[in-house]
């Protein structure tokens, strides 16, 4: 039981830490997104309207 509570606390801690870090990094950013996958060029964000 205590291990499960520990896992829950760890998950919450990671989530809070990650979201805090994201806020810290992206708060003053001019570009809205950070993309980490693949070698293709990153398109503009916000998205253009769909046809």
């Amino acid at each position: 039981m205590s291990r499960k509570l520990g896992a829950l606390a760890l998950a919450l801690g990671i989530l809070v830490g990650a979201m805090g870090l994201k806020t810290l990094v992206t708060a003053h950013g001019k570009t809205a997104v950070i993309m980490a996958n693949g070698v293709s060029p990153v398109p503009k964000y916000p998205l253009p309207p769909a046809n």
């Binding site: 980490a36 996958n37 253009p48």
Partner: protein, 218 residues
Amino acid sequence: MGAGVCFVAFSVIRASFLKYFFLNLYVVLSLFADLLRQSILRFYGVESPQYSYAYYYTDCLLTIALFVAVISLASRVFAELRLAKYVRFVAVLLLLGTAGFSYAVVAQSSERLGTTFAVELSQNLYFVGLVLTYLLWGAVLKLQETRTRLVQMILSLGLYFSAYAGSYALLNLAPKYEVVQYLAPILGCFLPVSWALTIMRHTEDSRLTPARLVAVPR
């Protein structure tokens, strides 16, 4: 792309495909995503909505696959402590928590909810993966993990995430320099290259020799 093919091919040849299944799955998905993006890019162009939607949806899928790959490495690190079950529990909680948080952020958005959610989830999972990888680094140091492949794969993940965060910072600091724009696509090659080198150079039995402590008389 060549490095990705190399990684999967050597995993199969060295009978490590199933041992590192989720890493291979990420690399295979990344190859398919790149093929799809390139074909749409050639057909419609980089400014087109088609390319943007294809890019962001495949990115969300790849970030989830990368998250699962990080969790699979964490399971292997904590397997000897019989904590693999709890690692999976934490992973599910994190995935659900991140999805819930992302939905809460974009729920007010009236248009293109699906795509905005995909972008937000991808962003948030990226940062969760970053924090997880650093925690995994700490665990590897604390547990004095000696399996070379495992250590090198975790180290390359940490470098990859850190390099992306750095390139993002550079993009904001110096957006006028064109070279900065190309950093992210160049970094995209890093993970398959480093994993391919690891799987080619080391066997599953390879171990790192921990630094010997020398007792110095005082």
